[in-house]
C-alpha cells in the first residue's frame, strides 16, 4: 500500500533533478534531515534568490506575529469602549493632546482610540477573517472540484454549471448578498458577535469557484495516470483514491490560489467593512478604520485614514507577491 502512496509525489522528484543544474554543491553531499532537506530544496533556493519575495515573506510573517501578539504589544485595548477617553480624540501622531496631554505613536481617531492599537487589533480581525474564509473556500472548492473531476458525469455538470453561474457575478456582490441574508436570520442581540462569522461565511462562499475549477482540471489529468489505475487495480475505493492519491497531486496549484485568495479575502473583508456591512464599529477591522478615517479627509486629520490604509496596502501587496512568486516557482513551464 505504501509504495503506491509514494507514487503520489512523483512531481517532487522532478524539481530535485532540476536542482542539479544550479545547485551549489555536488549531489552526493546533499543533507539528509527533513528540515535541512527543505532548506536545500529547489523552492528554498528560488526563494533565497528573490530578494523581493524574502521581504514580502518577512513583512507577512511580522504582520501575522504583530496580530497574534496584539494584546501584549498594543498600548491600549481598542475593543474595550470603557477604556477610551473621548477627550483624547483627534490627537495627531507623536503630539500631546491639548486637553489630556496624552501622546500617541500614530495619533487617535474620533473616539480617542489609539490608532496604532486599533491597527494591531484590526489586523487580527482582517487576518483571521482572511485565513478562515480562504480555509472555508478551499474546503468547499477542493471537495467539489475533486468530485467533479474524478467522478465526472452529472455531479460534474451540476457543480461546474453552478460555478459558472457564480463566476458571472463579482465575488464582492455575492459576499454582500450572503451577508445580508445571513444578517436577516441572526437575532439582533447576537448580530455583533456573529458579524465576524457571517463575514467569513460570506467571503468563503463567494470564493470557492477558483479552487473547484483548478482541482477539477488537475483531478481529470491525474485520474488518467498509471498510479491511479494501479490503485484502482489493488481495489482501493473511489473515495480513498480521490483523497490519498489524486488530491495530493492537485494541491500545488491550490496552494498558489490559496495565497492569492488570501490577499483577495483580506481586501474583500476591508471592502465590506468599508461599506459598513462588515465588522461592527466597536470592533473595527482595517476596513472599518478606513471607513472612519475617510470622513476626516477634508478636515486635515490625515493619520486616521493613512495608517490603516498603508497597513492594508502593505499586507495585501506582500501576500500577493508571495502568491505570485509561488505560482512562478511551482510552474514547471516557467523554468
Amino acid at each position: 500500500m505504501t509504495d503506491v502512496s509514494e507514487n503520489a509525489i512523483p512531481e517532487n522528484a522532478i524539481p530535485e533533478n532540476a536542482v542539479a543544474e544550479h545547485a551549489p554543491g555536488p549531489i552526493a553531499e546533499r543533507p539528509t534531515g527533513r528540515f535541512a532537506r527543505a532548506l536545500d530544496s529547489d523552492l528554498a533556493w528560488r526563494f533565497r534568490r528573490s530578494p523581493l519575495t524574502v521581504v514580502a515573506a518577512l513583512v507577512t510573517v511580522s504582520m501575522i506575529l504583530a496580530a497574534l501578539l496584539a494584546p501584549w504589544i498594543a498600548p491600549h485595548n481598542p475593543h474595550d469602549p470603557a477604556s477610551l477617553n473621548l477627550m483624547n480624540g483627534f490627537t495627531p501622531p507623536m503630539t500631546a493632546n491639548a486637553f489630556t496631554g496624552a501622546e500617541f505613536l500614530l495619533g487617535t481617531d474620533d473616539q480617542g482610540r489609539d490608532v496604532f492599537s486599533a491597527i494591531l487589533y484590526g489586523l487580527r480581525i482582517s487576518l483571521f477573517v482572511g485565513f478562515a474564509a480562504v480555509g472555508l473556500a478551499m474546503l468547499i472548492g477542493v471537495t467539489l472540484g475533486l468530485i467533479a473531476g474524478y467522478v465526472g458525469g452529472w455531479p460534474d455538470t451540476v457543480i461546474m454549471r453552478v460555478a459558472d453561474v457564480q463566476l458571472t457575478f463579482p465575488a464582492i456582490l455575492i459576499a454582500m448578498l450572503i451577508f445580508g441574508v445571513a444578517k436577516g436570520f441572526t437575532p439582533p442581540e447576537l448580530r455583533n458577535e456573529m458579524a465576524i462569522w457571517v463575514l467569513i461565511l460570506s467571503i468563503g462562499l463567494s470564493d470557492w469557484v477558483q479552487f473547484a475549477r483548478t482541482v477539477r482540471a488537475a483531478a481529470m489529468v491525474e485520474a488518467k495516470k498509471d498510479y491511479v489505475a494501479a490503485a484502482r487495480l489493488v481495489g482501493r475505493s473511489k473515495a480513498a483514491i480521490m483523497l490519498r492519491h489524486v488530491a495530493p497531486n492537485a494541491m500545488g496549484p491550490v496552494l498558489v490560489i490559496a495565497t492569492i485568495s488570501l490577499a483577495l479575502a483580506i481586501i474583500a473583508e476591508a471592502t465590506l467593512s468599508f461599506l459598513g456591512v462588515g465588522a461592527p464599529p466597536t470592533q473595527p477591522s482595517l476596513g472599518t478604520l478606513i471607513r472612519i478615517g475617510q470622513r476626516f479627509l477634508f478636515s486635515g486629520e490625515w493619520w486616521i485614514l493613512l495608517f490603516p490604509s498603508l497597513t492594508l496596502l502593505v499586507l495585501a501587496l506582500a501576500v500577493n507577491l508571495l502568491g505570485d512568486w509561488l505560482r512562478d516557482a511551482l510552474n514547471p513551464k516557467l523554468r
Binding site: 477604556s83 473621548l86 477627550m87 474620533d110 439582533p188 442581540e189 455583533n192 477634508f298 478636515s299 486635515g300
Partner: protein
C-alpha cells in the same frame, strides 16, 4: 447695426444663462422616506414634500406663521371652539383640479386617520366642516389657542385624486407597505415632481401655474436633489461644484468650507434636541442580559446613566464645539423652556457607580443601543462615545447603527429598548413634545414615545393643555409636567444641535432653525 447685433447676442446669451442659473443642485444625507404627505412626520420627508405640497398656514424660514392656502383665520366670536379659515381662491393642484374647502376638510381628516403620523397635531380637532367652497371650519373639543401652530405641517391633498387612486388611507410606512401615494404626488406647491429615483436623484421643476408667482422670488426654477449619505463625499461634491447646496454639513469640514472661495456657510442654533430613550416600563427586556428584570425600570439606573454622559466631551470632540449640551429634551426656543431645566448635571462617575450598586447592578449588565447613522449630526459617533461612557459604570452596550429608514420603524413597532432620537418643535410649544414623546402611546397620542412610559395622571394634564385658554395657568401646567419628566429621567438628553448649511455664493438665503428648506424663498444671483 453692430450694437444691435451685439445686444441681440447678449440677450441670447442671457436667456441661455437664465435656464442654467435657475437650476439648484441640492444634496443632503437622506431621502424622503415616503411621498405620502401624511405618513411620516420626519424632517427630511416633510422638507422634500414642502416643495410640492402646501399647508393652510406656513411657517416661513424665519419661523413666522404666514398665509399658505388659507388667507385668513381665527376663532369664531360666537363659538371659541370653532376656528374659521378663509381659503385662497384660484389655486389648482398639479393635475389641474381646483383646490376647495372639501379638499382641505378631506386632508385634515386623512391626517387624523389611523396610520397618519400627524394625528397628535390634530388631537383636539373633532370635525372639519365645509362652510362653502372656500371657507373651512375646524371644530375642536375645547378652545385651542395654538391650533394654527399645529397646522404648519399638515399638507393639503386633492380628494378626487386620492379617491381615484385608492389612497384615501395613509401609507403605513412602519408596516413596510407600498402605496400609490408613497410614489406619486399631486400638490398645489411651487414645484412639480418631474422624476424620482429614490436614494439616487429626484428632479423638481417650477410649477408654471403656481399662485405665488410674482409674490415670491421663485428664482430656483429647477431642483435636482441627490441624497449623499457619506459626509466626505457630500462635502467633496460641494467643493467641486457638483452640487450648489448641502444640508447636514459635517462639523469637521466647517472650516474648510468657510475658507473656500465661492462658498457660504450659514449657521444658526437649531430647533432640535438629541437624546436617548429608554424602555422604562416593560417587565423584562429582550435586549439585555438581566433575567426577569428590566434595569431601565429602576430610576436609579437611569439617573446613573444620565450623570455618566460627559456632554462637554461630546461637544468638544465629537461635535467640535458645534452643539449646546443640555439637560432637557426641549430646544431653547420653545414655550416652557427655562435655564434651570436646560442645566445639565456634571459628570459624577462615583455617584453613578454607587447608584448602580444601590439598584443591585454593582456588576453592571449588558444591553443594546439602537442608533441611526444618517439622520443627526454625527449620530453614530455620539452613540459610540456614550457606549464608552456607559462602559465606565459597568453597562456593557453593543451598538447597532442603521440608516434611519430602518431605525425609525424600531421605535414605531416598539422593537427597541434603548435608542437615539432627535426632536424639533415646529409649533414652538411644549405641548408638541408632550403629545408625541411623553403621553402614553394610545389612540392618537405618543406615536414617537417608545419608552413605554405611561402615567394616566400626567396624560390627563397633557390632554387638558390644548383647551386651556388661560395662558398663565397653562404655562404653570407645562412647568409641572416638565418637573415630572425631569424627575423620572425617562429620557437622557445630550445636546441641542447647531445647524449649518453650506452653499454656493450664487445663492442667497437665511438658515431656517428647523432645517426646513423652502426653495421658493431662495434668491439666486447670476
Amino acid at each position: 447695426m453692430r450694437a444691435i447685433l451685439l445686444g441681440a447676442a447678449a440677450a441670447i446669451a442671457l436667456t441661455a444663462l437664465d435656464a442654467e442659473a435657475g437650476t439648484l443642485r441640492w444634496a443632503r444625507t437622506g431621502e424622503a422616506l415616503t411621498l405620502d404627505p401624511h405618513s411620516q412626520n420626519e424632517g427630511p420627508t416633510t422638507t422634500f414634500l414642502h416643495q410640492i405640497y402646501e399647508t393652510l398656514i406656513l411657517a416661513d424660514m424665519t419661523g413666522a406663521f404666514v398665509e399658505g392656502l388659507a388667507v385668513n383665520w381665527g376663532p369664531l366670536e360666537e363659538d371659541p371652539n370653532v376656528w374659521r379659515f378663509d381659503l385662497r381662491q384660484g389655486v389648482a393642484f398639479h393635475d389641474g383640479t381646483p383646490f376647495t374647502a372639501a379638499d382641505a376638510a378631506f386632508s385634515i381628516m386623512r391626517a387624523k386617520s389611523e396610520a397618519s403620523n400627524f394625528r397628535e397635531l390634530l388631537g383636539s380637532v373633532v370635525e372639519a366642516r365645509v362652510v362653502d367652497d372656500h371657507t373651512l371650519d375646524l371644530v375642536t373639543d375645547g378652545p385651542n389657542p395654538i391650533l394654527p401652530a399645529n397646522l404648519t405641517n399638515i399638507f393639503m391633498v386633492s380628494e378626487a385624486w386620492a379617491r381615484a387612486n385608492d389612497v384615501v388611507d395613509v401609507h403605513n410606512f412602519a408596516a413596510g407597505e407600498d402605496s400609490f401615494a408613497a410614489r406619486n404626488v399631486n400638490g398645489t406647491g411651487p414645484y412639480v415632481l418631474v422624476s424620482r429615483d429614490p436614494d439616487s436623484r429626484s428632479v423638481l421643476r417650477l410649477n408654471e401655474d403656481y399662485w405665488g408667482i410674482g409674490e415670491f422670488p421663485l428664482d430656483v426654477t429647477e431642483i435636482i436633489f441627490t441624497p449623499i449619505q457619506n459626509p466626505a463625499t457630500r462635502v467633496a461634491a460641494l467643493l467641486s461644484g457638483e452640487v450648489d447646496f448641502i444640508q447636514d454639513v459635517p462639523v469637521q469640514d466647517l472650516d474648510r468650507i468657510a475658507n473656500t472661495d465661492g462658498l457660504v456657510l450659514g449657521t444658526t442654533a437649531q430647533n432640535r434636541t438629541i437624546f436617548f430613550g429608554l424602555n422604562v416600563a416593560d417587565e423584562d427586556l429582550a435586549s439585555d442580559n438581566v433575567e426577569g428584570r428590566n434595569p431601565f425600570a429602576d430610576r436609579r439606573v437611569r439617573e446613573a446613566m444620565n450623570i455618566a454622559i460627559n456632554r462637554e466631551a461630546i461637544r468638544q470632540v465629537v461635535m467640535r464645539g458645534q452643539s449646546q449640551p443640555t439637560g432637557v429634551i426641549m430646544p431653547p426656543f420653545v414655550n416652557g423652556w427655562t435655564e434651570e431645566l436646560d442645566a445639565f448635571p456634571p459628570v459624577d462617575l462615583d455617584r453613578a457607580r454607587a447608584l448602580m450598586a444601590e439598584a443591585g447592578f454593582a456588576d453592571g449588565f449588558s444591553t443594546r443601543l439602537d442608533c441611526p447613522n444618517d439622520r443627526y449630526i454625527n449620530d453614530e459617533a455620539i452613540c459610540q462615545a456614550v457606549v464608552g461612557m456607559f462602559g465606565q459604570i459597568g453597562i456593557n452596550v453593543t451598538l447597532d447603527a442603521r440608516p434611519r429608514a430602518q431605525h425609525f420603524p424600531l421605535l414605531a413597532n416598539l422593537e427597541t429598548d434603548f435608542y437615539m432620537l432627535g426632536w424639533g418643535v415646529p409649533t414652538y410649544d411644549s405641548e408638541y413634545i408632550f403629545n408625541f414623546l411623553v403621553h402614553t402611546r394610545d389612540d392618537g397620542f405618543g406615536s414617537w414615545n417608545a419608552t413605554r412610559y405611561s402615567n394616566p395622571e400626567l396624560d390627563a394634564k397633557i390632554r387638558s393643555l390644548s383647551s386651556n385658554i388661560d395662558l398663565e395657568a397653562r404655562d404653570a401646567d407645562i412647568a409641572a409636567i416638565w418637573e415630572v419628566v425631569q424627575a423620572e429621567t425617562i429620557y437622557l438628553p445630550v445636546h441641542h444641535q447647531v445647524l449649518n448649511w453650506a452653499f454656493s455664493d450664487r445663492i442667497d438665503t437665511i438658515v431656517d432653525p428647523e432645517d426646513q428648506v423652502l426653495f421658493k424663498y431662495f434668491v439666486m444671483a447670476d
